[in-house]
Amino acid sequence: MNGSDEGSTHRTIERVARESYGRLVAYLSSHTHDLATAEDALNNALVAALTAWPRDGVPQNPEAWLLTAARRSFIDLVRHRRVAEASEPTLQLLREEREMTLSAEFPDERLKLLFVCAHPAIDPALHTPLMLQTVLGLDAVRIGQAFLVSPTTMGQRLVRAKTKIRSGGIQFEVPQERELPKRLDAVLEAIYAAFGIGWDDMAGVDQSGRELAEEAIWLARVLLQLMPREAEVRGLLALMLHCEARRAARRGPDGRYVPLSEQDSRQWSLPLIEEAERHLAEAASRGGTGRFQLEAAIQSVHAERARSGRTEWKAIMLFYEQLVRISPTLGTRTGYAAAVGEANGPEPGLVVLDGIDSDAVSAYQPYWAVRAHLLQRLGKTSEAAGAFDRAIGLAEDPAVRQFLLQRRG
């Protein structure tokens, strides 16, 4: 086999791994509850594919090939470990399944896996890392980087979470209707957290940040495919697509940070905006307004500027008002203050900011950035400089820091 064939085989393996990873892990773990072994087994199968496929050619049904190999490996791993209590049912199950079918058709259990990852018995801080690892196959090093945790620590936390899932009676199931809204919310939060990390930290320049944002959008698409009737899933997808549409406009050619209000809307991606709008309209037609639909609606108003040339701050303010009512977080309250500042003037905006608990904002950068901006518009130069300092000191992105230093003057 020549080099380019080998290259294309490797690319095929990468593509199959990416598309099938979550489906295979979900399927292998849905009955056994053993995520760690399912992942190990799948990784062994992928390693085997790296040897077998370039030699024998890519099988007609690569996913079925991987499933067979992973299943065998799963059985070997369990046998080898001789986990007395759990091994017999597990082995029996796998034997039965093996006899049942080796065809391509196996149930898609990813939805259950998503709900397991965001289960209330799991530390909320681990919901997103677990999803990234089990559904997307990201390793602890990359996840650790994204969450600003050392790879070893992240690895240990993930292992502990998986042990809990295996032995803690966490069911692999889609929650009952009564619990569904709350449980779904945790899944949506976890996906959005992945997007937020990819978005804030790297601000469009760093490749790994962009990839994480893309992974989050991919997760939301998977979720939508599995739950097409849930309006909030569409709301979340619309929100992320609207933000993603502006990625290219967030930095100047020299890497300079460009705030939303100064972005050149011709650099926004129209196809992404149109897709976001379709999802948002579809969500609205199903009635009920959730948090993600409101956030997407705010971004939709911003996107309008590409057509109208202006920003309807009054509309944004009204959406924020509703948002603060259902989700009064630091982020939404600060966003509301910024919108009031634009719609009604800096003084009313500052009044909203003053209503937020001062202890809570001591390390919250956006609060100080908005405060500095509003004070500067009022001509309160020295107070503004103090707020700018706080915002600069709390900024992590050097480009944002540079931008604020210039504004501070």
Binding site: L148, V149, S362, R390, I392, G393, L394, A395
Partner: protein, 122 residues
Amino acid sequence: MQFALLIYESPEAFAARNSDGTDPYTGAWRAYYKALVAAGIYVGGDPLQVPETGTTVRLKEGKRRVQDGPIADTKEQLGGFTILELPSLEAALDWAARCPAAAAGAVEVRPLAPEMKRRITG
């Protein structure tokens, strides 16, 4: 608990010390310091003179060995330290990421060792 942020800086960052203090790097440091104090977590810290001013002393077989410069000959050199009072390593890593040196060099986060100090100071 207390953490030390050990600030490792590049030659360019050390060179910026020769400016009049209006450069962005120094401006970012001023703002960072204010944010640390305002958050109520600042315990102490100091910048160090540039690495070339260091002198390393060893006693080998009873003989004094003196060497110009810092111990390790690496591109990034210790340029200062900050001690912070924080509830967790996570919080310390967050503040390290905000440190202006994190983008220009590196910041090592190390917990202080008070039990060791007690053993020494009695």
